[in-house]
Symmetry: none
């Protein structure tokens, strides 16, 4: 049985679920591989969310991001996949994910996804 990347996303109870508040995480060191050519891709991520019952544990998020290091990933697909993993893990009241990929073939690509409970 293969370990899925999303298995590495640990959570902890929201210390105050009675409040709506915002957690913002900037991750400038994301890298994966191009699924067509195997060449490295680089991106910066921004996660913004309002927790419901659970929060994302910081160290496991770091380890989760590392699991993409050796995986092939299309820009649009990987952004949707990461958002799905985050939603599955913590079911936030609101979440927004922004990925900015480095230039490839003279083209810069950003993907921005927003999700509500």
């Amino acid at each position: 049985m293969t370990t899925q990347p999303s298995d590495q996303l640990e959570t902890f109870p929201n210390p105050n679920p009675n409040r709506d508040y915002t957690i913002i995480m900037d991750i400038p060191e994301f890298t994966c591989l191009c699924p067509k050519t195997g060449q490295p891709d680089f991106a910066t991520l921004k996660i913004e969310y309002t927790p419901d019952k659970l929060c994302i544990e910081l160290k496991s998020l770091k380890l989760y991001m590392w699991t993409f290091r050796d995986r092939g990933a299309f820009h649009e697909a990987v952004t949707n996949e990461i958002l799905d993993h985050l939603v599955n893990a913590i079911d936030p009241r609101w979440i927004k994910l922004t990925m900015k990929f480095n230039v490839r073939g003279g083209i810069y690509t950003d993907v921005v996804i927003e999700h509500k409970q």
Copy 2:
């Protein structure tokens, strides 16, 4: 039978058509020829869109942009033509195209077009 530039725009299925999200592509290296004088023109493009069933494949977009290198193209016409090609290829929920042409005859020209499904 001549190959049309739009034939080079490949697509792939939107990895998550259940969501509205935004893809932004910046292309700083566009060049074509002035249809009157044959002189080179240079522009930067920005494509912003919300995919429906299909997304634009990155490498084919790069190759598509290169097809203009040896073609004559008026500023206003080429912006409309590229938007039409993109709409024909992926029929997005929403798309906006911005082309900023370098100075010619002491005049800077931008053309901005927005389209909804």
Copy 3:
């Protein structure tokens, strides 16, 4: 019979009159003469418009701008005159003209005119 400056504004058919879109032209090199003193005046122009049936041809616009080089022109009058010439030539759905004149007598003057079909 004298050739009028507006005779030099050539046009071409809007390549896509089914859409509302925006064309922006920045012209940093306008010069005319002060009608009182004969001294040179300098200005920058910005033309923003949504074409209807016609677009302004770039080279004729450049030549048109040159016709002011040896003419006397009051700031407010010349801005209105250029807007009238543009409206007469292409009857746009919407147009905005901004002229920023260099300092004269310690005073900087801008004139901004907007017109709708």
Copy 4:
């Protein structure tokens, strides 16, 4: 009979009274005297207006500004007075006057007045 400063404000017919448009004049070289101490005061002015039947003639505006060089003038009063002179001279559809006075006694003072027809 004394010549009033406002007598120096010349006007000319609005070249296009059928349109609402905006004229903006920046005047960085205003100076008058403090009515209490006789000491020089310095300010920058910004005049923004939509002309009705008349426009302010640029050279007479410059001369008008010079008439304050040897006059005592409180900050709040002189801003109101200049606005009144402008309104009396051209009765604009809308006008806004901003005066920014240099520091005096460690205090910077701005006065901003807006007037509609």
Copy 5:
């Protein structure tokens, strides 16, 4: 009988009470003493107001500010006190007072108060 600081705030008649207009005063050189430790405190003030019948006289405002030089004053209290003095002196249609205190104990404090007639 002690002279109160507010006795030093002189006024003059609003030169044009028929208009709503705005007067903005920036005062970068405010200093008072900490009432607990006797140590000097420094702040910058911004006064913004729409006068009704009266305006604040500039020189008396400067002298008024100097009266705090040797007084102990808590941040929140002194901002409220200055606003009260200004309101008592000129009863403005609207006034806003912003005080930005320099760092003390590693903490920067701003106090912002708005008042309407």
Copy 6:
């Protein structure tokens, strides 16, 4: 019996509870320990609030911030805890707390909480 950090938050009566006004405190020097690894964490805090009956005393706030120096504290929990302590101490009409933590494991985390009476 252990002294709780919140015991160190002293207050003083709001000098003017009849008004709604805003107090803003920037604290660039917060440090605590990572509860997992014992490593130092650094953050900047911004407290913005409208006082009701009580204000936060500046020196006790400084001492309160120092109590975190040798405590383990998760990012989300410590932000909620500080907000709770502030609310318990002064029950403000409105308060907003922003904590910006330095990069850890290549990830920057901000937590923003707003609370109304």
Copy 7:
């Protein structure tokens, strides 16, 4: 007998003539008249000097600058004249005078003079 402008430059003994040190004075509010047209000119001055036996008194320098308000003065001549007055008044070990005149006829003029004992 007419009072000369230089009569207004008061001095005081250099508090420490045993040292070479530098005094720098920035004067952004200089105005005089154009000797040809009578029109106002504006400039900013920078005085840098190493005092010998005497220093320039600040208030008299301000009054001295005001004496130019109603005098005609060519750019180059007035800079030389002010330098001469300063040298005559305090005979400094070294002095440098920089005058930056506002734009006139589309031309900005700076005049820079250095003098040694």
Copy 8:
């Protein structure tokens, strides 16, 4: 017998007199009184020095600066006086003092003094 301000400058032994190194202290909150008018003056100080046997103790330097709060002091004299006090207290290998005084009468004054052992 009166306590002199310089009595408040405490020192401590240079922890490494075998090296030439530089200590830079910025003091943005200096205030004294104008000896002519009694009006407050404000300045920022920069002290740069290479210690020999002694260093300036920070808290006593702060208290020393406060002694000027109620003293009359000319710009040039007070800069020389502070330098003398510093030299007397620590006899540094090299020291440079820069005082930048706030605008008075439309004139900004800086005084810069350098001293070597």
Copy 9:
């Protein structure tokens, strides 16, 4: 017989060969092809030179630059080649050529060559 690109570089006599002076030309619109992949490359050029007997004619320089549009060219070789063409055409006293190529494969390359007579 093929026309060589360097045949297009026209010259004109240096109007003042008795002086050493510098001419600087910035060319932001250079494009050629990668000799390995046929993909477009983009660069900006800066030419700085001190003419001897001849100067480079501007329009021919523009046409010369266009000859690279359809040629394959390695970064280092094309920079040396252009410098050689320029030296052959005008034999300048001194010349420096800087080419900054757009990112390819995640690598930005600049080539800088200096040549003296």
Copy 10:
């Protein structure tokens, strides 16, 4: 036999070995692993060199950089190793290598090495 990373550095003949000139390559997408913890490290490289007989081929340099993606590498060692590989491959007249590593444990590390033939 294992393929060494340096085997991937291809070269081509310097197109003009008669000249001293400079090639500058910026590589913002370097990543390797920490040899102690296995965690990813990120850095930007700048290579500056004067070629002798050989130049570095761009695509092989990109592939060479990718070989570090799965290798453990200490900051100082990897910078020396890359320089050695470059020197072995092209024996340049002069070369300088600058590596700027992202923050780890709150510490940013740069390593700069220069080598001459």
